[in-house]
Symmetry: C2
Subunit: 717 residues, 2 copies
């Protein structure tokens, strides 16, 4: 793209330097918090407003934006803001709230201050060379008069940040006006049932019911169901609307608060009648940049339904489920991030989600109130860097990472470990039998240790070696205690927890699985864990796709791709057989019929479209196509294709500015990479290629250098 | 009042217990911040929006209110909120946003959660026995699902606060609708000058110009002046409005953003003409609870003008001046608090001001960016307690005092002292010659020391003895260094500052004056300071009423009431002679005519109605009527009447629930106190009374116990 622009410039020498587009700007993270509140407050339960129960943040109401400009000739700029504002040119107020201003040729300082409560203070300035964009500075504390001898902002102690922005590149697209696009969608069937109309859209969907041909008067009751049972159970369905309209003035009704459903059941009062029902489907217009196809139609079906599940839950932010909670949960989002890197590769949604989850200082509780969810947030930050190479986002967020970790460190016990205190929710997983969460819980300590290591990595990235070492030392202390006191040599596994230094010998899967990913164990220890914990039916089983995700991932990393393929068929295939059109919050193969719908002590409490159900996207991309970055932003990568029990696989994984395509069958591998450089690993005795020099790694394993030049490389064996 | 109600109840035995009134509630401090933003953002400079340049805070957007109720019979409550809300009764959602609800007889838990961005989430619940009020709890982080085994909020770690409230006791008086009342006010003269109309209201005032009899079309230009010169100088006056109205539809124009002025100069464009001009005077309807009269009409005039100055600057909050800045500055407010205790005795305005100044965590700068202003805030907190006895406000604010002090402590140098860092403004005073503010400035260290002592006092008050001792130790360290290194024995005075441990020997008045109030000096040291510093014309003179306040106070404490009386006549009387109708930001007797109007490098930059100009109210009440509390809330007090050079004084000082009246002439003292108990001190050789036993304190000084029973006590001598 850069190359093309340069060519154009060379071809049109009389064209002056093409300016960047102006875009709306704000204090970084503030719009994300505002939009997050808007989203999360849309949750209702049977018509009642149901907002989050953790601390809800808001934006800085007063923000100053500034830039140095240097036009070669007098330049008229237009100015628009969300809020009340003033404009200073070279420190001098301009009269009123000017909507345009002439900037004289030469070097000038432009400062615009905006105040707004109900929306985020935001600014759009557009001129020939002067445009708002991420190069503008912003602050919430200008302290302009600090230095009585002058206005030298470098002495003011003011903290400036690069302005936040997204893609609001038109002056009329003010940030507060953002909404997801919609498309009309028709139902598959609409039949009279009981006293009402049951409408079926054929699969789980999301949006605004649209009623046509209204006549008569009387209230309209709309009952939503992810299942037919739920829609028809007017006393217990989770979502409903009761509305009234003047039928004299309109024969149509578009409901206002978009919701999740497959079925609508509609009853009316009085002589009200309804002609027909369809909907406006609301969605985040993200394209599938990743793909997967293989020789097994069931697996292809699973991949497609998983992709649709992720599409529905990737909205303004990565949310947990579309019916309930419609909130941004850090542990759920962490998995969405990973799936995103293999399907959508959409950075802005990851950034928005990470910024919203972190919120504002002071920290007064764990993210979403959940201790493990604070840690997933740290892990998600570094993952983001690895998959995107976007160091500037780490730089922006590092102070927020620090203050989050500072709060966590303030809660250590005398051994430097964390225990649940009043206000801390230790979630870990929804489990069928109660889990002991008292004292030092090894899973939390493990995630805590990894988060400290993440802090060390990020500090190092920003050339803060001193801080990096401090975090590394803290991590080492936790890791040492973990290995000494929670690794039970005789059992060959991590114990679950210790209360006042005493363990009851319980072993759960969580710590043991994650210790394998984090590479805290020797190969021998890992093998032991696999047999004694992961594949041991006496250890409490996992019944959510949430932790199945990690369980299957760990088996993939240990070479069990045949087993995992079969588990995918059983578990996700099982949901499909039970009628799923998107993947669920929880699935227990032992349950039957409407039992599948119940959860949280409510008959339809379970979410049937839950992001954490979509993990096959990630597993198939990372462990079958076998693609992952080995340096930030796919500067280097590896490709380790695995067939499992399949005959062939064919797919692609997005990279920051391109894609890596992989095909494998029983005799051939073909890969194409469009950027970076990496290695293709081939498990074969005597692979052959004309595309480069194969290097032997060990017996039966070779590697071939791959250059990201868009050329297809074929290896046969 | 209480007594009357009781009588009524006894008289009407069938009347059931009268419930308290319901009142609007919010998260404590949040409404104050919201209202403060509203106030401070009304500043304009020549028509341009001119908001504060420090960090501007905002309210928690999501707040939960809760209470336990226990009606003896089913009770219907009405519910109103500012914002979107939900209602839970015993943990169960009630459908929609109910505007009324039946609470069944018996014990129940009522929780109402409100979300609002543009206004403060606020609630008004009214029933026979159930009403919102300060007994309700509020939190910004309910964490309701923390404890998976139940909803025991005592385990949730949630921090609850008692709800904030003021006097919005009607459901229709929602907090966001608050505005100060207005009264119509007519000008004294209106004459044609140049091309316009010059309107004079006879004295400094504040409000909304009101134009009548408009005809024709064309813009109207309104120029405001605290002086005639300013109003007529259309190019340089500080405040102006340019407005246009459709004269077809209205012949009247009420301007919208209330402003300070004595004069209006109005010009029109086109064929626009104006019939007449008056105004709506906007004011905080506080009554003068204190009074002062004496034998000198000039002093009486000064007291009256000072009272009017304080009235004009006591608005939604105690502001600095009504023309400019119209902001809440901590150092200015600290003086308004003290004057308030002798004139208005209005606690809510003090509370609002203290809460707004402190704002929200995290602390990222000094209050108003000024180091000394942070310290005055601490001092103001304890003064408030002494004058009101309101310990609950200290309890509410203590965590905010702690986090403010924590931030200050984080900025100490290696000696435990504070130096100005980037972002810190060391104000001290407007001085005629530049003041060195580098290094360790003794005045700042002194205020810092006093603030630490204040923290120790407040911690102790709340039974936090450990914390109290820590603050006391920190204070002692600062005081020790001050006395050892900044008290110059040879000069008998504190030196101004040290840069890298070196002083240039400069002495200024500030540290020396305050060290006397704070009682950090021996009597001998004090006497030395008086002669060598305070009454020494070679030490840089003070030219603001701001520091004159303290200078005269220190002289009062040292018995110089004759001298101070004469200084009041000269300084404040000088302003009156120069035409003042309210007291000024700065007064230099050497200046003439329009020189008095200039400041901050602008011809009319000076504020001619500035709260800190009103200190005679305080000096006359505290050091001539001689009344002050010696225990919190006037539980004990002392009265030390002083005539200075007057023949008689007669006045009253408000106490929390009453008043202390004092009359003194050359032969008699008469006092009446309505609460508490104290001592009247009489300087006389042989005083006489029939009202109790006179105790001799020392030669020529007696004291008489005074009981707050409303009985007048007379002493002759």
């Amino acid at each position: 793209m850069k190359k093309l622009l340069l060519t154009l410039l060379l071809a049109l020498p009389c064209l002056s330097l093409v300016a960047e587009n102006a875009t709306w700007i704000w204090y970084p993270g503030d719009y994300e918090i505002w939009l997050g509140n808007d989203l999360q407050n849309r949750r209702t339960q049977r018509g009642t407003f149901f907002p989050p129960f953790w601390k809800v943040d808001t934006h800085y109401p007063m923000v100053e934006f500034s830039t140095e400009v240097n036009p070669t000739e007098d330049e008229t700029i237009s100015i628009q803001a969300e809020g009340k504002y003033n404009v200073k040119l070279d420190g001098t107020f301009q009269q009123g709230m000017p909507s345009s201003l002439v900037i004289p040729a030469g070097k000038h300082q432009l400062n615009i201050k905006v105040f707004c409560l109900d929306r985020v203070p935001a600014l759009f300035v557009d001129g020939k060379t002067i445009q708002t964009g991420p190069a503008w500075k912003t602050t919430f504390e200008d302290k302009e008069w600090i230095d009585e001898s002058g206005k030298a902002s470098d002495k003011s102690g003011t903290t400036y940040m690069p302005a936040g922005s997204w893609n609001f590149n038109l002056s009329e697209n003010a940030p507060s006006r953002f909404h997801l696009p919609t498309l009309p969608m028709s139902p598959v069937t609409a039949v009279k049932v009981n006293n009402g109309l049951l409408v079926d859209f054929g699969k789980e969907t999301f949006g605004f019911p649209y009623l046509h041909g209204l006549t008569g008067t009387g209230k309209i009751h709309v009952f939503y169901g992810e299942s037919k049972e739920e829609a028809l159970d007017t006393q217990h369905c989770e979502l409903l609307d009761v509305v009234d309209v003047e039928s004299d003035t309109t024969s149509e009704l578009l409901l206002t608060n978009s919701k999740a459903f497959r079925y609508l059941y509609i009853e009316t009062e009085g002589d009200r009648s309804i002609g027909s029902v369809d909907m406006k489907y609301e969605f985040n217009p993200l394209v599938y940049k990743g793909s997967f196809k293989c020789s097994d139609t069931l697996i292809n079906h699973i991949w497609n339904v998983a992709a649709y599940t992720l599409q529905l839950t990737s909205r303004e932010f990565f949310i947990d489920g579309i019916k309930r909670d419609r909130w941004v949960w850090s542990g759920d989002a962490y998995q969405s991030f990973q799936m995103n890197y293999y399907l959508l590769n959409d950075n802005p949604t990851v950034q928005r989600t990470l910024m919203l989850l972190r919120g504002k200082d002071p920290v007064s509780g764990h993210i979403n109130t959940i201790m493990d969810y604070s840690f997933y947030w740290f892990l998600g930050m570094y993952d983001y860097y690895m998959y995107t190479g976007d160091k500037e986002f780490i730089r922006l967020m590092y102070p927020r990472m620090q203050s989050m970790m500072q709060w966590i460190l303030s809660r250590r016990n005398s051994r430097g470990l964390l225990e649940g205190q009043a206000g801390d929710w230790l979630f870990i997983d929804w489990a069928d039998t109660p889990m002991d969460k008292k004292g030092e819980v090894s899973f939390e300590e493990l995630l805590y240790c990894r988060s400290l290591e993440t802090m060390a990595l990020c500090a190092n990235l920003l050339d803060k070696q001193g801080e990096s070492q401090q975090y590394a030392d803290l991590a080492l202390n936790v890791k040492t205690i973990l290995m000494k006191e929670f690794w039970d040599k005789s059992m060959g596994a991590f114990i679950h927890n210790k209360v006042n230094g005493v363990s009851d010998g319980t072993v759960t899967r969580y710590t043991n699985m994650f210790a394998i990913f984090f590479n805290y164990l020797t190969q021998k220890q890992k093998d032991g864990v696999k047999d004694k914990v992961i594949l041991n039916d006496n250890i409490m089983k996992i019944s959510t796709p949430y932790m199945r995700y990690y369980e299957l991932e760990v088996l993939c990393t240990m070479g069990e791709t045949n087993y995992v393929m079969q588990e995918m068929r059983n578990y996700w295939g099982g949901m499909l057989q039970a009628g799923a059109t998107t993947f669920w919050e929880k699935y227990n193969p032992q349950e039957k019929g409407a039992e599948h719908l119940a959860m949280h002590n409510r008959p339809y409490g379970k979410s049937l479209c839950h992001a954490w159900g979509a993990s096959p996207i990630y597993l198939l991309g990372k462990y079958y196509l076998g693609v992952k970055p080995t340096a930030a932003g796919y500067a280097t990568f590896e490709i380790r294709p695995e067939l499992g029990d399949l005959k062939w696989i064919d797919g692609s994984v997005p990279t920051p500015h391109g894609t890596i395509k992989v095909y494998k069958d029983l005799k051939t591998i073909r890969v194409t990479a469009s950027e970076g450089q990496g290695y293709l690993f081939i498990k074969a005795k005597k692979p052959k290629t004309t595309a480069g020099k194969l290097e032997k790694v060990e017996s039966g394993l070779f590697r071939l250098p791959i250059v990201g030049n868009g050329q297809e490389v074929t290896v046969t064996f």
